[in-house]
């Protein structure tokens, strides 16, 4: 069958599945809309969390990042998984015991302050909106690349689908669609990886294949190191950047992950405190299946690429691939502009080298997208990868939109501005807020503001420097009071944003950065993306000092902290 038709069928079938779930899992109460009635099994919640967390970037771009950065990209692997250890031990069970619906609600109650709650809402909305813009762009790109549809049309279809199941079902609809989306995306990711591993090393498990030997008996990674060094690149398996930056960057991603509201609220959906602990473990199991496959995909894709364009020795004239003899997948991806050949020396051969002589430009996204073609897999696998990329983007977008809309309807409307509204009115407000958020996210996806380029820096910087520390101190430091929490949040966000803006431009507007985005100007060589970890340390230090010199929190707050520390007495499932 024609690839185009097949892709329409596979993607169409997955969409039909999501619609079916949307109709089955309609939400009838705010409890269902905000927390799926707290009746989600911990394993199911783990799977939904994995889909919620793994975005278009994890699915499409991460393996490519690893392929080009080699060992240095380990910071993404450790950073984005290590956060779940912190979530399981420091936040999830206690926030589940607290038994409310949103992250700002906890902050507002624990620090007995509407100001703290509003500051938390603002942080949450900024972090989630910047994050969701990336997902919206991912949906548009996936449609335009696989279904050859214009970017904006693809985006509208994506918005329409999220609209149906998120507005109808809220957290309940989103949870069950995310489970389906996880199954689609993990198959789409692992099937090509297994075939490539078999083809290169004879070992079906990519996690083992990457440490096995290729046909001539040399270990794959040793051979990859040699090939890259021959081409003038650094060794794949050695550190290229600064060790301190790697430590701080990993730390920032870990605490940023643990502090992302759309991930935290998933743990409000399980029936018990002990389920929240186990569910974090299950989430990591499902995430680890992709995250331990990604480094294999990265190294094997790089191996395939380098050996395809450089089949012979670098010194020999005919060692580089003749442009005429390029394989079919090369031609296909040249059309998309993700692969570009520029015959600088006019010899008709592809010289892939480090530096000015290089004639091949490879976009990192190609490493996952072109994988099935490079491995000569059947067309249905390519169609599956398209459905997988869309599932990854849609599931994360829906989770983020839910975090935004609950913050508006529950924290701002019910919590601050109109506390008298009935439950039915609040549910309606939540649906309207969801529809509005989808509209805003879609608009920003079509017209990305300048700061969208800095999505990762802002979202993780905010989550790491403000939300994580304030939640952790709220649970682990009984003496922490509202003055300390607010001062800490302000200091943490302030210093992180100052650092990001001074190097990347005020709100990422080019030309407004006063120090320039250059290594030598970085504080101890720490990159702006990695600075959230430092911001968190500043937050902790300022909060503890301020709390020391101000009055302790009132008696009932200290009792509240004692109460959330023990599982007994947690509110159970709402309607089961």
């Amino acid at each position: 069958m024609e690839l185009q038709t097949l892709t329409y069928i596979v993607v169409g079938a997955t969409f039909a599945l999501y619609f079916g779930i949307a109709i089955w899992a309609r939400a009838g109460s705010t409890g269902e809309f905000y927390a799926a009635g707290r009746g989600v099994h911990p394993v199911a919640n783990g799977m939904a969390t994995a889909a919620d967390w793994m975005s278009a970037a994890s699915f499409i771009s991460m393996a490519g990042l690893i392929a080009f950065m080699g060992y240095d990209a380990s910071l993404f692997l450790m950073g984005w998984t290590g956060g779940y250890v912190l979530l399981a031990m420091l936040l999830a069970p206690y926030l589940r015991k607290f038994g409310k619906f949103t992250v700002p609600e906890f902050i507002g109650d624990r620090f007995y302050s509407q100001t703290a709650r509003i500051v938390a809402v603002i942080c949450l909305i900024i972090a989630s909106i910047t994050y969701v813009i990336g997902q919206m762009k991912g949906i548009g790109v996936a449609f335009s690349r696989f279904l050859e549809m214009p970017f904006d049309q693809g985006l509208f279809i994506g918005m329409g689908i999220v609209f149906v199941y998120a507005v109808l079902g809220g957290m309940k609809g989103i949870t069950y669609t995310q489970i389906a989306q996880y199954c689609v995306l993990i198959c789409a990711y692992t099937v090509p990886a297994i075939f490539i591993s078999l083809h290169l090393t004879g070992v079906p498990l990519p996690q083992i294949g990457m440490f096995s030997s290729v046909q001539d008996g040399t270990p794959l990674l040793v051979k990859l190191d040699q090939t890259l060094v021959d081409l003038g690149f650094a060794q794949y398996t050695q550190l290229k950047g600064s060790m301190l930056n790697m430590v701080v960057y990993t730390f920032s991603l870990m605490i940023g992950t643990a502090g992302l509201p759309h991930v935290i609220i998933r743990f409000f959906t399980v029936p018990k405190v002990r389920d929240a602990r186990a569910s974090a473990g299950w989430a990591l199991v499902f995430i680890a299946i992709l995250y331990t496959t990604a480094p294999a995909v990265g190294s094997m894709a790089m191996f395939n690429l380098a050996n395809t364009v450089q089949p012979g020795p670098v010194t020999a004239v005919d060692g580089s691939l003749s442009y005429e003899a390029r394989p079919q997948w090369f031609k296909n991806w040249e059309k998309t502009g993700l692969l570009e050949f520029n015959d600088k020396n006019g010899d008709g051969r592809i010289q892939y080298r480090k530096g000015a002589d290089n004639e091949l430009r490879v976009d990192r996204d190609i490493m996952v997208l072109a994988n099935p073609e490079i491995a000569k897999l059947p067309n249905w696998v390519i169609a599956l990868v398209a459905a997988g990329g869309l599932a990854a983007a849609l599931s994360t977008a829906a989770g983020l939109l839910l975090a935004i809309s609950t913050a508006i309807s529950h924290d701002l409307l019910k919590g601050v501005f109109t506390p008298d509204i009935s439950e039915t009115q609040e549910l309606l407000a939540a649906r309207v807020a969801m529809a509005g958020s989808i509209g805003v996210a879609g608009y920003l996806g079509l017209h990305p503001p300048d700061f969208a380029a800095g999505t990762v820096a802002i979202a993780f910087g905010l989550a790491a420097s403000s939300i994580f520390p304030v939640l952790m101190m709220g649970i682990f430091n009984k003496r922490m009071n509202s003055q300390g929490a607010i001062a800490g949040m302000a200091a943490g966000i302030g210093i992180t944003m100052l650092y990001v803006f001074q190097h990347k431009g005020i709100f990422f507007v080019p030309g407004t950065s006063f120090l320039g985005d250059m290594g030598p100007n970085w504080f101890f060589g720490i990159s702006p993306n990695a600075f959230g970890g430092i911001g968190a340390l500043v937050n902790f230090a300022v909060a503890i000092m301020v709390a020391k010199v101000t009055a302790p929190p009132p008696e009932h707050i200290q009792h509240l902290v004692e109460d959330i520390r023990i599982p007994k007495g947690a509110t159970g499932a709402i309607d089961h």
Binding site: S74, L77, M78, T81, G82, V85, V247, R277, K568
Partner: protein, 87 residues
């Protein structure tokens, strides 16, 4: 809270001890084996590269998994021991 604050405090202390141990291991496998000690671990080869590389791209994630499930099961035991469990 059963038996007032005493049980609660003892339970919390036991919890903190467990969390501390788990987070020390968490830091050793990622920041230690995966980053800072990696050059030293190059002496131990896994599939042609150093053990540190394996920890950075595979091993640390597996240890994280074991840590969370170990923590969850130990906490279930503590919950019962101090009689603060649900239902």
């Amino acid at each position: 809270m059963p038996d007032g604050n005493k049980t609660g405090e003892a339970y919390w202390k036991a919890n903190l001890r467990l969390v501390t141990i788990c987070l020390i291991i968490w830091a050793i496998v990622s920041y230690g084996f995966g980053i800072i000690l990696r050059p030293a671990l190059d002496a131990i080869p896994v599939g042609g590269v150093g053990l540190g590389f394996w920890f950075a791209q595979q091993g640390s994630i597996y240890v994280f998994l074991v840590l969370i499930f170990y923590y969850a099961s130990q906490m279930n035991k503590l919950d019962r021991e101090f009689d603060v469990h649900e239902d």
